[in-house]
């Protein structure tokens, strides 16, 4: 089965019902995508398929066939992703780090200058058990300041 992961075409030999999360981690060796709850509740495994944020623990490989998948490894290679990554470091947006890749990918679709409300809506499907969220919101807000992100 063919899919594009972070701009690179990959041919994967795996069952079409295999979780995209497991395909990325096991077949592609991209372990930046984390498994949290395994039931689409926590958002730790968020990736983008054709630019749309999904929980990769509840997506079959079949639904990524022929599509463009972006994981945290690819996201931080973009200007917005890099700005988010840097801001999470500066503002203490990451503690244990398990939720961070998902937070960054869920935030990556926000437009520069997004309001606090927009940020909260975009991150509503991402749980963090360390920071209590304000540090994450500050990080995202800072990264999305006009001029920094694209």
């Amino acid at each position: 089965m063919k899919l594009t992961v972070n701009g690179k075409t990959r041919t994967v030999t795996a069952h079409p019902m295999k979780r995209l999360l497991d395909v990325l981690r096991e077949d592609c060796g991209l372990t930046g995508t984390k498994e949290g709850c395994g039931e689409g509740e926590c958002g730790a495994c968020t990736v983008l398929i054709d630019g749309v944020a999904v929980d990769s623990c509840i997506v079959p490989l079949a639904h990524a066939e022929g599509r463009k998948v972006i994981t945290i490894e690819g996201a931080t290679a973009t200007r917005t992703g890099k700005a988010l990554q840097d801001a999470f470091v500066v503002h203490g947006g990451a503690q244990c780090g398990i939720c961070t890749p998902g937070m960054i990918l869920a935030a990556a679709r926000l437009k520069p200058g997004a309001s606090e409300h927009d940020i909260k809506v975009a991150l509503a499907g991402n749980l963090c058990r360390c920071t209590g969220y304000p540090a994450i919101f500050r990080s995202v807000k800072s990264a999305l300041k006009r001029g920094r992100a694209r």
């Binding site: 079409p16 019902m17 395994g38 689409g40 749309v52 079959p60 639904h63 975009a122």
Partner: protein
């Protein structure tokens, strides 16, 4: 114990016609689309089905349109598509409100209206909206199409009149004459499964529906009749208590749900006119 994918099978029809033929030949296949419930069941061993038919790429089942004043939403329309639709925002704002409270963005991007109906959970967030909106479910098999009033679609806990060879192809809603109202009560605004939810229409129509208070969604016809007849809120609440049967479960208690249902009814009546 998560299901090993090699124990699963997946048919991938290229068209609706092909999907209906596959189901006619093998009605034991379980249709899947956004998979937001399916993978939870597979992961935690609560889903016994092993053979699936994938509808996700069937474009014929997507889309939102209005024809002869009837709003038609394709079964595979995602919550995100509903939230972004100016047609739905205008005609059925309570469905937009309900869709915004289903999970977070990742779930709204994958979960579908048809899936919420087919999954038949008593806690399905859009189901009270469809009941209050007097919706109809459009079912199709390889031989033809039939339309079922949403009121008579469910026959019991997680049971419906949908036959194994049929697919839900669309949900249709007539124009609503009246003010729409929606409220979900859960542990948290995002992600949490509902403790209770209520959707209602007040105008020429008065339709009041509750979710998570019985094995299926409940249209509170008695409570509505009291209010329509000019009765008091207290009398309507008393009538409501006779037509819902909330239970204790992991998310809440029957007593809490009964009290909150009565409170929601009063809140709706006070906030609308």
């Amino acid at each position: 114990m998560p299901a090993n994918p090699t124990s699963l099978s997946l048919e991938r029809p290229a068209s609706l016609k092909a999907a209906l033929s596959m189901l006619a030949a093998d009605p034991a296949l379980t249709p899947i689309a956004g998979c937001t419930d399916v993978y939870v069941g597979l992961q935690f061993g609560t889903l016994t089905e092993r053979r699936f038919i994938d509808l996700w790429d069937l474009k014929e089942l997507r889309g939102i349109s209005v024809d002869r004043d009837v709003l038609r939403i394709g079964a595979l329309t995602t919550y995100t598509a509903i939230i972004q639709s100016t047609i739905v925002q205008k005609r059925l704002p309570m469905l937009v409100a309900a869709s915004r409270e289903v999970g977070g963005a990742q779930i709204q991007n994958r979960g579908t209206l048809g899936g919420n109906v087919a999954n038949a959970s008593p806690a399905g967030d859009t189901l009270p909206v469809l009941a209050a909106a007097n919706a109809r479910i459009v079912l199709r098999n390889h031989k033809g199409t039939r339309t079922v009033a949403f009121d008579s679609f469910y026959t019991g806990y997680r049971k419906s009149v949908r036959q194994p060879d049929e697919l839900i192809v669309a949900i249709e809603m007539p124009r609503i004459d009246g003010q729409q109202w929606w409220r979900k009560v859960g542990t948290r605004r995002a992600q949490a499964i509902s403790k209770i939810m209520m959707a209602a229409v007040r105008g020429r129509d008065l339709r009041i529906a509750f979710g998570s208070v019985a094995p299926t969604v409940v249209l509170a016809a008695k409570a509505a009749a009291v209010l329509r007849g000019g009765g008091s809120i207290a009398d309507a609440q008393a009538a409501l208590e006779t037509e819902i049967a909330p239970i204790d479960d992991v998310r809440s208690t029957g007593e809490y749900r009964m009290k909150v249902a009565a409170n929601l009814l009063a809140q709706f009546w006070n906030e609308t006119r």
